[in-house]
Amino acid sequence: MAVRRTQVAVVGGGPAGLAAAIAAARRGARTILLDEQPAPGGRLRYRVGAVRTPAGDVPPARLRTDLVAEAVAAGVELRPASVVWGLFDGPLLAAADATTSYQLAADAVVLATGSTDLATPFPGSSLPGVWTGRAVQILLNLHRVRPGRRFAVLGDGPEAAEVASDVRLAGSEVAVVASPGRDEIAAAGTRGVEALVVDGHRHAVDVVAVAIGRQPDAALAQMAGCPMATAAAFGGWVPSLDDRLGAGVPGLFIAGDAAGVDGVEAALAEGRFAGASAAASLGLLGEDVPATERAVYEAACPERFTARRLLRPDHVQTLD
């Protein structure tokens, strides 16, 4: 199997990964960004509501276009449709695209693998027509297809509110919003959802969007042997990171939702800091990540910065 080499490899092309790749490449690191989807952008590809950035609220599509242009201008090699399925000592990535399977040896790796939607079991929850909230967003906003005519949305947090809003923006109807934690819920139907029964009341729907929250997707970090910790503020199991976002494994850094579910602004700031840390680990920044970079990161997401410090490996034992 072919082994390729690079200085910095970034896994995941959402806001955190793009920001990390830009930060590393601008400091002179030869940088490759791999993303399993057909185009980079992550959540910026399928969300439509404005997202908060340091420059103000912007449409996700515009932020995505700007970030990709910045990455290309900085010299980042973008590899969409590339699945990274393994992370081994080195760090050494195992990757595959439509035509090739290969290993990618990097001096530093930034994992920005994002998050996945939480599932919750209820009667009928495996029926066709029950989707994650994000799946509904992808179908309506990216592929412009309605998975049905009348929607139920499950959840009582910001994810559910956004999905319900997106359903209406696409011209479809939200028949009911319910919370699995509060209401008794069952989906009914034979070969697909025909109704959602909420506390005994039957609502005729053919789509149920489960938007109860997200969890970090840190599978590659776990595979690499990173110390993990659980923290409700970060959405579950997350890698415990040092003050450079290093993951306790030489050359490995983590940023964005994979290191704790949060908004786009936090992902951008953390990605940028992780990219700078990766470049610093190559000796491209002298002795250390400049204090200005850490200050920018802390200022952009102070609560996350503090929570992150409490999750550092030397604190993990006492936190649980």
Partner: protein
């Protein structure tokens, strides 16, 4: 035994989001033709198989290995396996992240799709759920 195509409760021709409040009109896209369980499906170039099937009213993509229960997608990011289908004779293809192609032959997958491998003549068996006394994962 072949099943009739499963259609969604949506029976109208409005499964495409032609006009979106923020995104505007649906951009033009070249047409791509594929078949699903022998039925012709009109798709838009570049979209994943799941999008084309939903737009055509298909709602069930596979059945499960042991229970035989219907599944119709869940995550849309290639993770969960609920949309595994047989594409041009190859089973376990995640339809949510696999783009359509002209002339693509797609079949619903039953169980693990083992039956799809054995034919070798370009056709695919319409398998039924496995026997209850079969091996654990067959």
């Amino acid at each position: 035994m072949s099943r009739p195509p499963d259609t969604a409760a949506v029976a109208d021709d409005d499964r495409r989001v032609h006009d979106h409040t923020l995104l505007g009109p649906l951009p033009a896209s070249p047409a791509v033709r594929l078949t699903f369980d022998g039925r012709p499906i009109a798709a838009r170039a570049g979209e994943p198989i799941v999008a084309a099937l939903l737009a055509a009213g298909v709602r069930v993509f596979r059945t499960m290995p042991r229970s035989g229960e219907a599944r119709g997608g869940w995550c849309m990011v290639g993770r969960c396996g609920d949309c595994a289908v047989v594409v041009d004779g190859i089973p376990n293809i995640p339809a949510c992240v696999t783009p359509v192609a002209e002339g693509m032959v797609v079949h619903s997958q039953h169980g693990l799709g083992d039956d799809a491998w054995d034919l070798g003549d370009g056709s695919v068996a319409d398998g039924s759920p496995p026997a209850p006394d079969g091996p654990e994962w067959r």
